[in-house]
């Protein structure tokens, strides 16, 4: 409680020191606790009794001491306060006394002031009285003086203008003239002004002419000192702007000026375009340099031109004019660039990709930047179109190279087959070589073109570029186009007359089949991945589907195989036909042996069989002959053996001409045999196709001849020989049976003395051979 009270006392003190009494606030703020010694409701009796009742003696003693101290303190405080108040009262009394004496002196000075003011007003009235008459005169004189100044200025104006003009201070000259002209034109009818005005007009006309001249010279007037930075005779656009500004102030119309501005800028543009055009026609400079030149000179200047023009001529009409001009320049420029790029794309060899890509990239970036300056005209779209064209052209060039490669590969294969005999080359190896070569060529082509899609290339991610280049140019025109071309090119060989070597047809047939199975899908997927062809319906609409290509390859393979059958069958058939034609079947000796040509046919057939089986498997995909099953269990070595002359086989077929009856029966009871159906992709089907073709031809040739007895018997022997050796090559024995029977029957029919040979003799002769 002790510090509490002392702080309260100090507060009380400060309150009194301020000399303000707030008794109300004090009485309200006091507590009513009777035991609070500082409170308003302090009751000493209560406090004392309370103390006496509650406190022990020692604390009472202490309390008493404390109270005595406090009372003493309070007394001294009170004394101090009283003294303070007293001294303040004394000083206030002093102050009042001093003020009283000061007021006396001030009154005296005020009286003096009033006197002076009245004297001044007296004098002013006097002056007004004196001066009043001459004020109008003074005013007039001042006006005359000013007018004379102005006239002097006008009279000096021609000289001044000349001076300014000579100094090249055109701006000041024009400003001066403009100011003077207002007056001169107003008083133009006064004779004294007329010559001045005429002089000035002449000078200004001269000035104007001078400005126009400089303007037309390209702003690089010799007398102009400003903008020293413009180098090498290039038109300084800023100077031009200044000139245009001056001329505009001289009252030239904006349309004239803007037209003149463009006209003035045009020759230089045309010269730059001409330079570029000249370069575009040749591959002498590299394409990057070409782009740099175009960008640094033409495009930069065009940019400056556009910027300056825009500043000087802000009106919409001028803007339209600028756009038209800009459009025409850009059109020429884009055409030139496109021409150069396409030339580069076409002519540069395999290494040109990166250079072209970099050139395209640089070009595209520059024009994109320019597009930001000139938003109209779809500049960046058109630049992209140029790039697209170049890229597509490149893809086309690559495609052309691939086509050449294919042609070379095919003719190489052809000559390889022609020089090395049929037996000495491994057909599967040749085919694998061809497959690898062409697939690698396609892959290399695709890889080369990927340079266009590098991530640092500015246009590589543009959707328009993707669509045009990736989907259309590469995926469709290059890849699908080439694949289709390859298939049709192979198939075209099948239709050639005279037919190409049969082995080539066989090889290519298998090649088409293998390509379809192994590489077609792979290449298409590869391209899809490498060139990020989207799986959207739009993209799919543009691209030939793989299934369609696959069908083309299947068709080509089938066509080639059929052509092979026709060609090799035709070779055998030709041999048989010539031998039948050449022989005199009417006169002749009894047959002793099988004719050499028949043996030769069987030998050749073995060769054909070997070639075919090196490329095609035994079992065709379904639809093989009925006899295919048991033969496939034979080892290939047994194929060289002749038919075992078991009783069963003999009973099955005899070399006796059964006359027409047998074949009629055959026809009656068997379905119409499709003698010359299409060959399937299998050894048996192919070879039996060849056999059937040869036998059918033999049949037709026999029908054109007339036979004697021994002629018929010779046919008997030949047929038996064929029967003994052909079975192993065919998928369906019954067709061979039927054809051999027909041959025999026809020979018998065409025989004037049909006496057939004993079966045992026939067998003997065949056995001996």
């Amino acid at each position: 409680a002790e510090p509490d009270r002392s702080s309260r006392n100090s507060r009380l003190r400060s309150f009194y020191q301020q000399g303000q009494v707030e008794s109300d606030a004090a009485s309200v703020g006091l507590n009513v606790d009777p035991c609070d010694i500082d409170g308003a409701g302090f009751d000493p009796e209560v406090y004392l009794s309370k103390l006496l009742q509650e406190q022990p003696l020692t604390s009472l003693m202490a309390k008493e001491q404390q109270m005595v101290d406090q009372i003493r303190q309070l007394d001294s405080d009170m004394q101090t306060l009283v003294y303070d108040n007293y001294s303040k009262f004394i000083s206030a009394t002093d102050t009042i006394r001093k003020m009283k004496s000061d007021f006396h002196r001030m009154e005296q000075e005020m009286n003096n002031l009033a006197e002076s003011v009245s004297a001044m007003s007296q004098q002013a009235a006097d002056v007004r009285q004196h001066v009043g008459g001459k004020r109008a005169e003074l005013k007039r004189l001042a006006g005359v003086s000013a007018l004379l100044h102005k006239l002097q200025y006008l009279l000096d104006l021609p000289a001044r203008l000349t001076e300014l003009r000579r100094e090249g201070a055109h701006q000041q000259a024009i400003r001066a003239w403009q100011q003077a002209d207002r007056v001169l034109s107003r008083y133009a009818d006064l004779p004294s002004f007329r010559p001045i005005r005429a002089d000035c007009l002449a000078i200004m006309a001269e000035l104007r002419a001078q400005l126009w001249k400089r303007f037309n010279e390209g702003g690089s007037g010799t007398e102009s000192g400003g903008e020293g930075g413009s180098g090498g005779g290039a038109p300084d656009a800023r100077q031009l702007a200044e000139l245009v500004d001056l001329l505009g102030q001289l009252g030239e119309s904006e349309a004239d000026l803007s037209a003149a501005f463009l006209r003035q800028a045009d020759p230089r543009m045309q010269r730059l375009l001409g330079d570029l055009e000249a370069q575009a026609g040749s591959l002498q400079d590299d394409v990057l340099q070409f782009v740099d030149q175009g960008c640094n000179h033409l495009v930069s200047e065009l940019c400056i031109l556009i910027a300056v023009f825009g500043d000087i001529f802000p009106s919409p009409e001028s803007r339209a004019k600028l756009e038209a001009y800009h459009e025409s320049v850009m059109r020429s420029y884009l055409a030139i660039v496109s021409k150069r790029f396409c030339l580069e794309a076409r002519e540069s060899g395999g290494t040109g990709d990166s250079l072209l890509v970099r050139a395209c990239d640089r070009f595209h970036r520059k024009l994109q930047a320019m597009h930001r300056l000139v938003t109209e005209g779809e500049l960046s779209v058109r630049a992209l179109a140029v790039v697209c064209d170049a890229a597509a052209e490149r893809a086309g060039a690559v495609r052309a190279q691939l086509d050449l490669r294919l042609t070379a590969a095919l003719s190489g294969l052809r000559s390889q087959l022609a020089t090395a005999g049929a037996r000495s080359v491994s057909l599967p190896q040749l085919m694998a070589g061809l497959l690898t070569e062409l697939v690698d060529a396609v892959k290399a082509a695709l890889a080369g073109l990927q340079a266009f899609l590098a991530t640092d290339v500015s246009f590589s991610l543009k959707p328009a570029f993707r669509e045009r280049f990736c989907v259309r140019a590469v995926r469709q025109e290059l890849l699908a186009g080439f694949l289709n071309h390859q298939a049709t090119q192979c198939a075209r060989l099948a239709q050639l007359s005279p037919t190409p070597p049969p082995l080539l047809l066989l090889l290519l047939s298998r090649y088409c089949l293998d390509f379809r199975n192994s590489s077609l899908h792979y290449l298409c997927t590869l391209a899809d991945e490498q060139f990020l062809v989207p799986e959207s319906p739009q993209a799919e609409a543009l691209v030939t589907p793989v299934s369609e290509l696959s069908a083309v390859y299947s068709d080509s393979a089938a066509e080639l195989l059929q052509a092979y059958v026709c060609a090799s069958g035709g070779t055998l058939a030709g041999m048989l036909r010539k031998s039948v034609d050449a022989r005199d079947w009417l006169q002749g000796i009894e047959p002793r042996s099988v004719r050499a040509v028949v043996k030769r046919v069987v030998e050749d057939l073995a060769g054909i069989d070997a070639s075919v089986s090196s490329l095609y498997d035994e079992a065709p995909s379904g639809g093989g002959g009925r006899g295919g099953g048991d033969r496939s269990s034979d080892s290939s070595a047994s194929r060289l053996a002749r038919r075992p002359l078991t009783a069963a086989s003999r009973s099955q077929w005899s070399a006796t001409p059964s006359t027409l009856g047998n074949s009629l029966l055959h026809r009656l009871f068997s379905d119409k045999v499709d003698l010359l159906g299409p060959a399937e992709f299998g050894r048996a089907s192919v070879v039996s196709g060849v056999v059937r073709l040869a036998l059918k031809t033999l049949l037709e040739c026999v029908r054109l001849k007339t036979f004697g007895r021994y002629g018929l018997q010779q046919v008997q022997v030949d047929c038996h020989y064929l029967h003994a050796f052909l079975w192993r090559y065919v998928s369906d024995d019954s067709v061979v049976h039927f054809l051999l029977e027909e041959i025999l029957a026809s020979a018998a029919h065409r025989c004037i003395d049909p006496v057939s040979m004993e079966q045992s003799v026939v067998e003997l002769i065949v056995e001996r051979d």
């Binding site: 007359s497 031809t697 065409r750």
Partner: protein, 410 residues
Amino acid sequence: SIIKSEIKMDIDDPPVIYGLETQARALCSVPALDDSQQFIIGTQGLRVEHNQLHLLTFDADSNSVSKRIFDHGRDEIWSVSVAPHNPNLCATVFNRVTMDSGTNPSVAKRWCLWKLPEEEDNQTPRHRNSSEDALTSSSLSSVESLQSIGSIELEQQGEPRCLAFHPERAEAVLVSDGGLYQLGLGSGAVRLLAHLPAKDGRSQLRYWHAAWNPHHSAQQVIAACDSGGLRGFDVRCPPSDGPVVVIDNAHNGQARCVDYNPNKQYYLASSGDDGAIRFWDTRQPSNPVKMLRLHKHWACCVQFNPYHDQLVLSGGTDAKVYLTNNRSISSEPVLSLDDDLDDDDDDDDRRQQQPELDEDRTVSVVEEHEDSVYAAVWCATDPWLFASLSYDGRLVISHVPKSEKYRILL
């Protein structure tokens, strides 16, 4: 000979089948003066006593065939042709077997011109065959005899193949191993006008078939060679001038038949052992205008329809006869512009519905044959009728399908 005539019923156009007992190769259409639809066929029987020529008249109303038979003796007939300007004048190429002293038989190919006797009126009804009296009528038929006009021996003749009558004049060309012999047939006698030897430089050629060019008053004749080439000659030039048209390697193998487009100059068709039909423009002989690969073996004959040259008939040793429409290379206009302008929408619609409508296509295939077809000809008087003959002696007279007919006519 037993002759049976049967009618095979079909929904559209039932083909009429006429059977011979012996084999046959020779077939020709007869340009009858009364516009009746006639064909003539010859039998090829080596050991037969009586080979015959059958002159068949097709009756469209009853869909049946009536016949006249002419005796050709023991000589088997390889080829028959009838003069376009005279339906009674016919020529055959035949094989004559002579047995000298029984042991050493010899066979020789010969040719002869014949005059078919005029038909007697009262014979016609007796010979009319329909399916009902096929068997009975055969016994009733009488065999008429041919009147030989003559033949001449020609130098280096070799084996004759066939005789091609000139389309307008009384002339013919005999095709033989020795070359082409231009014969004059006027004033009742045969005489040799010119001989075009079958030589190609030094190598010997063998001609198989020949056809006159019907344009420019028919001064050119073209022959099919066994080397696969075609050789065209102008009969106004001396033979030493050599061919005016040379198409080498027209076919891989032998060229079997050749025919000029009757309505489009310079265009011709050829068929051969490679089974292909090729169409040529004689002004550009290096490449065919078009190729058809329909036959699976030899294509033995090919002929343009004499009226609507887009229709082409071909027969082959695969026992098939193909009727194709080759509109794209025919004399028919491609598609009249008027149509397009008049009803654009209708036309487009129609084309979308039937996109194959104006494309070249195979119109029909005669499946009735079971043996090689060596001859197929158009009827000379009816553009919608054709006949084909297979080796087993079966003649099939077929119609152009009605749908195709209307498509061409309308």
